[in-house]
């Protein structure tokens, strides 16, 4: 815990550095012990870092999670994203409350996140995932509560950073919610409790899926530098996105980890890029199939595909010694195939899990509680990265190998004048991971 003197110092520096004299800015640097107390009724200042559609959705949810919140800063690599996001937030609250944000607190560029985080009590981290470890580290080091989207890193080096910072967050009693929203969704919580109570016995295996036609593509614009282009079309570049096995399929892999109650000991798999393989599609695969083996011997088959015109499924099935669970249907099935239980769904009237994430975060801040999602967020991130390492290399990858790997695809620093870590050849094509050759 900081000494009183330290607080005095950081308080002065804070005001000086931020050139702000607004009262109420100071409490973030109060001793953490006092924080819970103070937070009971004070205005909570919220900053958004990463102003895409999801970030804008998250800041709206944060602002409506608690009566006494205020948007104090927005940051994005691109100025136009900040402006568009602010406009959307204002339109959302039109007629409900006035959202104002001084243009001086609309930050853009790669270091914008620091300026925005400095001003807040609670920060929303929703940039492409490659940046997350660095943003998370800065936020926790500066005593902020955090909502951050999944995944929380794109490489093992980033995962280790998040784990280290997660420990720090616990020590500082800071709340961290990770956007693996199935943990905040009534149906999944209900099924989890049934499984925990032993309704299907011990889990021995399962199948998890994210098979869909794929996501958006942003075309290269005339005059863009390679860095600008990759930052706009970030889904297709691993240092930013981590491939769809991580960026999207993490949800389903995470459910397997959650319900099994642990993380896999090893992974092996295969994948490639057969249909979505043009210049617009960077370097990621369009399909992965991975076998995750857990210490108990349980095996989870994980499949994710981004191809049009194929079977689609986003789901988790797990089989136990006494039955199985099918999460999309919300059913538990006995060993003879009979339905033992069905979750009564009322989707239109149930709480929205994306909103619940923020309701719980803000309630916990107010009550002096500590939500600590970051460790699981990091380990489920690593699980998916381990799967990607297996499909890219064609090798068996153990948990320890992945956890201790030096693989770092996200650069320590990024600026507009630098080249991204992957560059196109003269035909505009990027190097593609090749099983049997690519080493991870």
């Amino acid at each position: 815990m900081k000494s009183k003197q330290d607080n005095g110092l950081s308080r002065r520096n804070f005001v000086k550095n931020s050139t702000l004299a607004t009262t109420g800015l100071l409490s973030a640097s109060l001793p953490v012990g006092a924080m819970a107390h103070v937070n009971g009724d004070k205005k909570l200042k919220v900053a958004l870092v990463g102003c895409g559609g999801r970030g804008t959705g998250a800041i709206v949810q944060a602002l409506q999670a608690d009566e006494n919140t205020k948007l104090v800063a927005m940051a994005d690599a691109f100025q136009d994203k900040v402006e568009k996001s602010l406009k959307a937030v204002q339109e959302h609250f039109d007629g409900v409350k006035k959202i104002k944000l001084n243009p001086k607190h609309q930050f853009s560029g790669f270091d914008a996140y620091k300026k925005a985080i400095d001003m807040a009590d609670v920060v929303i981290l929703t940039t492409p995932p490659g940046f997350r470890p660095y943003h998370f580290e800065y936020a926790i080091n500066n005593g902020k509560h955090v909502f951050m989207e999944k995944p929380v890193a794109t490489d093992p080096v980033g995962v280790r950073k998040v784990l280290e910072v997660a420990r720090k967050a616990r020590e500082k009693k800071l709340n961290v919610v990770v956007g693996l929203q199935r943990h905040y969704q009534k149906k999944y919580i209900d099924l989890y409790e049934k499984i925990k109570a032993g309704k299907i016995g011990r889990i021995t295996g399962g199948q998890v899926y994210w098979n869909s036609p794929g996501v958006w593509v942003r075309e290269r614009q005339p005059g863009q530098t390679e860095m600008e282009y990759q930052m706009r079309n970030w889904y297709y570049f691993n240092w930013l996105c981590g491939d769809h096995i991580l960026e999207q399929h993490i949800h389903n892999i995470d459910v397997a980890n959650w319900f099994i109650g642990g993380y896999p000991a090893q992974a092996q798999g295969m994948g490639g890029r057969q249909v979505r393989n043009g210049k617009d599609h960077g370097e990621i695969f369009d399909h992965h199939f991975v076998e995750f083996t857990y210490d108990s011997g349980a095996i989870i088959s994980s499949q994710c595909r981004h191809q049009r015109g194929c079977m689609r499924r986003v789901d988790e099935n797990l089989q136990g010694t006494e039955g199985s669970v099918q999460s999309r249907k919300g059913t538990l099935i006995d060993l003879d195939g009979n339905e033992m239980y069905k979750y009564k769904s009322d989707a239109l009237n149930e709480p929205n899990p994306y909103q619940v994430e923020h309701d719980r975060l803000f309630a916990s801040i107010r009550n002096g509680g500590v939500i600590a999602d970051a460790e699981n967020g990091a380990k489920s991130t690593l699980t998916a990265i381990m799967g990607r390492m297996a499909t890219y290399s064609g090798k068996v990858i153990t948990w320890d190998q992945a956890m201790n790997s030096d693989l770092q695809i996200m650069p320590e620093t990024v600026d507009w004048n630098s080249n991204p870590p992957t560059m196109p050849d003269s035909n505009g094509m990027y190097p593609i991971p090749t099983p049997g050759i690519t080493e991870f």
């Binding site: 895409g52 559609g53 999801r54 804008t56 959705g57 998250a58 800041i59 709206v60 959307a88 937030v89 339109e91 959302h92 929203q181 899926y209 994210w210 098979n211 869909s212 036609p213 794929g214 996501v215 958006w216 593509v217 999207q248 049009r308 015109g309 079977m311 689609r312 499924r313 986003v314 789901d315 999309r328 249907k329 989707a347 239109l348 929205n352 899990p353 994306y354």
Partner: protein, 320 residues
């Protein structure tokens, strides 16, 4: 009333003048093997709404009143994912035919705005090939019609609420087009009682008397109209011709026919359901998608083609 009679006579003349085209046909689309089977719906008059005594009657279904409808063609089936994905992917646009003088529309497919690719998987694992497309907004369904028009040269749009009910009833006055007894519903449609919690491939059940499949159930279907619960009141004891409540706001608009997730009484010919903001509840993005309703896995649509083609100006209004 007199005007109505004359109009029906005129329609009859028009029909006989066109002769051959008062038949069903199959619409092909350049660049794909996918086709849309269209049934011919003759012009005529019917009683819209239901009586208070009808089991499951809801206040917005009354008072009953007379409505005249001009002839049109209507898709025999709900639009499937196979078709809808062509519109989402937009990779056959290059095959659009050169528009000819006799074509009903003269628009370039490049000018038709496209739906975004959703982040979430919108079939919810219920099936794609031959299954009805769902979760699209009314705007997206209307844009599909515009895209289809550009790709074929024929004018397609969503049905009005009145056209939809007229076609669903297919000359019947009972609660369902097969009678009043919901015990027979399983022969004609998918609802809560037989759907096993999911939609089914289109055309698996018996059609209505005019050859339209899944008008009762499977997925609710978009119409053009704004939902006004009291809209039938001023029509009492009058005959209205081709009514349409033009929407001024995004919500609420009308879907018809009930769905796999509904109880039997919601599948009646007269049942009306308003769209709602809630249908985008779990869209994690702001602004919420113009194109997708993350929480409406029970809503789809089918297309119509009116016999009398509207002017290019009017066409635009149906698509926006």
């Amino acid at each position: 009333m007199k005007y109505g009679v004359i109009k029906i006579l005129l329609n009859a003349l028009l029909l006989s003048a066109f002769g051959e085209i008062e038949k069903e046909y199959v619409q092909s689309i350049p660049g794909t093997q996918e086709k849309i089977a269209m049934a011919f719906i003759p012009g005529g008059a019917f009683t819209m709404g239901s009586e208070k005594s009808e089991q499951g009657h809801f206040g917005d279904e009354g008072p009953q009143h007379q409505v005249e409808i001009d002839p049109f063609w209507m898709g025999k089936f709900e639009i499937t994912w196979d078709l809808y994905e062509l519109f989402v992917a937009r990779n056959i646009d290059g095959k659009q035919p050169q528009k000819l003088a006799g074509d009903e529309v003269n628009i370039d497919v490049d000018g038709v705005s496209g739906a975004t690719q959703p982040y979430t998987e919108m079939s919810f694992g219920m099936g794609v090939e031959g299954y009805p497309a769902i979760c699209m907004t009314q705007l997206a369904a209307a844009k599909f019609c515009e895209w289809l028009s550009a790709m074929t040269g024929n004018f397609y749009r969503l049905p009005t609420e009145a056209e939809w009910e007229y076609a669903c009833r297919a000359g019947t006055k009972t609660a369902y087009s097969f009678g009043d007894d919901p015990a027979d519903l399983h022969i004609y449609g998918w609802y809560e009682g037989n759907s096993d919690g999911a939609y089914h491939q289109v055309g698996q059940k018996k059609p209505n008397p005019w050859g339209l499949y899944d008008m009762h159930g499977n997925v609710s279907e978009w119409t053009l109209d704004k939902y006004v619960p009291t809209v039938y009141k001023p029509r009492k004891r009058k005959t209205v011709s081709n009514p349409l409540q033009k929407p001024t706001k995004t919500y609420p608009r009308v879907v018809r026919g009930g769905a796999w997730s509904d109880k039997a009484s919601r599948l009646r010919s007269a049942t009306r359901r308003p769209s709602s903001k809630k249908w985008k509840k779990r869209d994690p993005q702001i602004p919420k998608s113009l194109w997708w309703h993350t929480d409406a896995p029970f809503v789809g649509f089918r297309v119509v083609r009116p016999m009398k083609t509207p002017t290019p100006e009017e066409q635009k209004q149906y698509w926006n």
